[in-house]
Amino acid sequence: MADLRVNFAGIKAPNPFWLASAPPTNSGYQVQRAFEAGWGGAVWKTLGDPIINTSSRFAAMHFNGQRVAGFNNIELITDRPLEVNLKEIYETKKRFPNHAVIASLMVEPKQEKWHEIVKKAEAAGVDGLELNFGCPHGMAERGMGAASGQVPELVEKQTMWAKEAASTPVIVKLTPNITDITATAWAAVQGGADAISMINTINSLAGVDLDTWNTVPNVAGKGAHGGYCGPAVKPIALNMVAECARNPEVNIPISGIGGISTWRDAAEFILMGAGSVQVCTAAMHHGFSIVEDMIDGLNHYLDSKQLASVEELIGKTVPRYSNWGDLDLNFKVVARINEETCINCNKCYIACEDTAHQCIEMLKSPGGNKFLQVREEDCVGCNLCSIVCPVDGAINMIEIPNGPPMTWNERQKAIKQPTA
């Protein structure tokens, strides 16, 4: 069994699976149950001036019979008194000294406010702090959360204020509701952050009730935008983590958040540069016990890759993430349909015919059986057919030799060079 322990920016935990700052980490009771179930760390639900929450808070996006493809909430930061949270943090840390307890913090953008809350949280014994610059609703209207997280100067300044008072590592949690996340990540670095975490939730409206014309969810007939998370946001989060991981100026550890439900998702984020991962929606859907398979599955995966520790996996794919201009334009794959495994649903055919490059042919064998074949010379290797194919192994994308590598950047360079 591999060593799953992590040292994330100085925060030590028995494994990289942490609960994100969210409803599951609302109280000591919950966080302690989570640690008993196997979670390696928890980012406490954001501390600040307690707010008043609405009733009717969550909604989900179900997709073709699968529940909770995406999840939307309009719940705000903690609605419990600061002293109660601090007392429970203290008790939790005492019971679980080797688990990571991180306090998520959000206050008005004022130096003294940051100093005050940082000192209080650290006095309770936390292993680190996470600055919530991401909450997209409710708090933003008061100049906090995403409202400050969208302004690089505010990110930098508030990080600095927190750092002035902090003796434990400071993680800055970034909002995805921004054009280029590396800009705010860089601001966090400038402010002295020890690490960044991403992504917070994405502005969203879960749906509209077609009978009542109310929004989903609605509060007494009115709705407001919420924050979107869950499996559906994973590709967005993964890209943002990857963009920061490959940016040499964002040279601090990253905690990956966004749609992580299984050990596979976690391993992808870790490969893309995350030193720990944070989970919320999957735990809210299935309970804390899901961490058992995350640990077990990651362990078996690391064993199968002959890696002794999870830290050896961190960032292994980062060098392979690049710019479009650096991709080899001469690389060629084509689709090949395996008649043995094909079940003749013809989904690939119609996808290619109507919406791609019209290169799959419906043919008939001498025996009268219909079969599908790709006209490889016309196939551009778009993958669409293999994406819509419902059966494993029925369509393979095959690499075929196609001349020496040439990227767009190399091509442009070659064009500019005067011929001798």
């Binding site: 058992e292 599955g297 494993d392």
Partner: protein, 460 residues
């Protein structure tokens, strides 16, 4: 078994081995993925409670969905050392699948098939799932290498005991190796389970009969604990005239003869009658069909409502073309001059008053005798007990059912524990493989408690 998943139903008369290949195909990876993602991952799940070995079913299914196949197989085999066999022979519709909450909303999860899929993966990938525990200096002898004995041995080895299994037959595995038809449970599945136990350092002394090759007294002197997991013996005679005829079979021996090649071709085109309507009777009947018999009838003196065979077994037998003759009692075997079976004389029954078993007693209808033609007759009217061996150990028993303490599985001799079919009967226990597996585990925990934990408590 899911009847609609059985694609190949034809019987080959030229190559009988084809008929004995596993009949229900493994789930394809797509089926397994679709089905495992359909599981709700219930909390406090009723399927776990319905499993006698308490397999954490949502956990192993979630692991299939996440692609953690080693972990999935481990969860299954951890709780049930014969979990690959049980995936095939458990009456899942009465256990886990019957308890699935989706019965109320749509269709239950195919738990048995998912379990088969995960354990097949472990078998194909030659995965070693468990390790022996650090030696605790104690030893245990297990008599019988069937489901109960193997489970006991596996857990004892993990708890650090030096374990020896005494197995009368050439191969261990008991009923799973010898007694369940190959087209439901191929022998290599049971062999893998045996190997998993052997790989923990458990010694299996095959072809070794206790009472002949080693005496009970010797055994009690040599080992710190003894587990009696000897199962049941052969099928008794029906007790009617003509049973000495050629062409009479004991159902247990009959099924066993089909487990290892070569298959007997004598029944091709013949008429077979099976007496009895339990699971072994069904196995004998469907084996006969697959050995090429032209006609197979099952006789039972009561009706379908009283028979002990599982519903899915009955359904399978019907689909295999087995004819059921209810309320039919055999009276006499008819044979020719050479002493070969030619038929069976029967009498029609009707149901009378309720008897001690709570079922209506079948009573003969006067003058209703008739004869059924038959070339072979298989008796499957239950199994005898190994009373002699039980008495050689001096254990208390009721008609061969060994009495045990329900919580410790200790017999009247506290050094001897018992599990499996040897404690089934007289209203005690159940005859399922999965029950035997659980009892085997429990004997191991009980032995550990008595011999290791208690002695630690005394010394500390």
């Amino acid at each position: 078994m899911k009847m609609n998943r059985i694609k190949e139903r034809s019987i080959s008369l030229t190559d009988l081995t084809k008929n004995f290949k596993e009949i229900e195909p493994d789930l394809t990876s797509k089926e397994a993925m679709d089905e495992s993602n359909r599981c709700l991952y219930c909390y406090d799940a009723p399927c776990i409670k319905a499993c006698p070995t308490s397999i954490n079913i949502p956990s192993f299914i979630k692991k299939i969905a996440s692609g953690n196949m080693t972990g999935s197989a481990r969860v299954i085999m951890e709780a049930n050392p014969v979990g690959a066999s049980c995936a095939r022979v458990c009456p899942t519709e009465e256990l886990c699948e019957g308890a699935c909450v989706l019965n109320k909303a749509s269709l239950p999860i195919m738990i048995g098939n998912l379990q088969r899929h995960a354990t097949n993966w472990a078998i194909q990938n030659k995965t070693q799932l468990f390790k022996a525990g650090a030696k605790n200096g104690k030893s245990a002898a297990i008599i019988g290498g069937g489901p109960a004995g193997l489970s006991s041995a596996r857990e004892l080895a993990r708890l650090g005991f030096d374990v020896t299994i005494f197995e009368a037959k050439e191969k261990a595995g008991g009923l799973n190796t010898h007694g369940i038809v190959s087209f439901r449970l191929p022998q290599n599945i049971s062999s893998w389970e045996v190997e998993q136990v052997e790989s923990l350092g458990v010694k299996i002394r095959t072809n070794t009969i206790v009472g002949r090759d080693i005496q009970p007294k010797e055994m009690l002197n040599e080992y710190d604990a003894v587990v009696l997991a000897i199962g049941m013996a052969n099928v008794p005679l029906i007790g009617i005239e003509g049973e000495q005829a050629n062409g009479m079979f004991d159902a247990v021996e009959f099924v066993e003869s089909t487990k290892t090649p070569p298959l007997n071709t004598d029944l091709i085109g013949k008429k077979v009658v099976v007496v009895g309507a339990g699971n072994t009777a069904i196995d004998a009947a469907t084996c006969s069909v697959r050995l090429g018999a032209a006609n197979v009838k099952m006789l039972y003196r009561r009706t379908a409502a009283e028979m002990t065979a599982y519903e899915f077994e009955y359904e399978f037998a019907k689909q295999e073309g087995v004819e059921f003759r209810w309320l039919t009692q055999p009276v006499k075997i008819i044979m020719d001059d050479a002493g070969a079976v030619r038929g069976i004389q029967c009498i029609q029954m009707e149901l009378g008053e309720i008897d001690q078993s709570g079922r209506r007693r079948p009573v003969p209808v006067a003058g209703s005798e008739f004869i059924l033609e038959a070339d072979a007759i298989i008796r499957a009217i239950g199994q005898k007990k190994h009373s002699k061996l039980i008495e050689a150990f001096g254990l208390e028993h009721t008609r061969g059912t060994v009495k045990v303490n329900a919580s410790t599985y200790q017999t009247s001799n506290p050094k001897i524990y018992a599990a499996g079919d040897v404690i089934f009967g007289e209203g005690q226990s159940e005859a399922m493989v999965v029950t035997a597996a659980e009892q085997g585990k429990q004997t191991a925990y009980s032995i550990y408690k008595q011999l290791v934990e208690n002695s630690m408590a005394q010394t500390s």
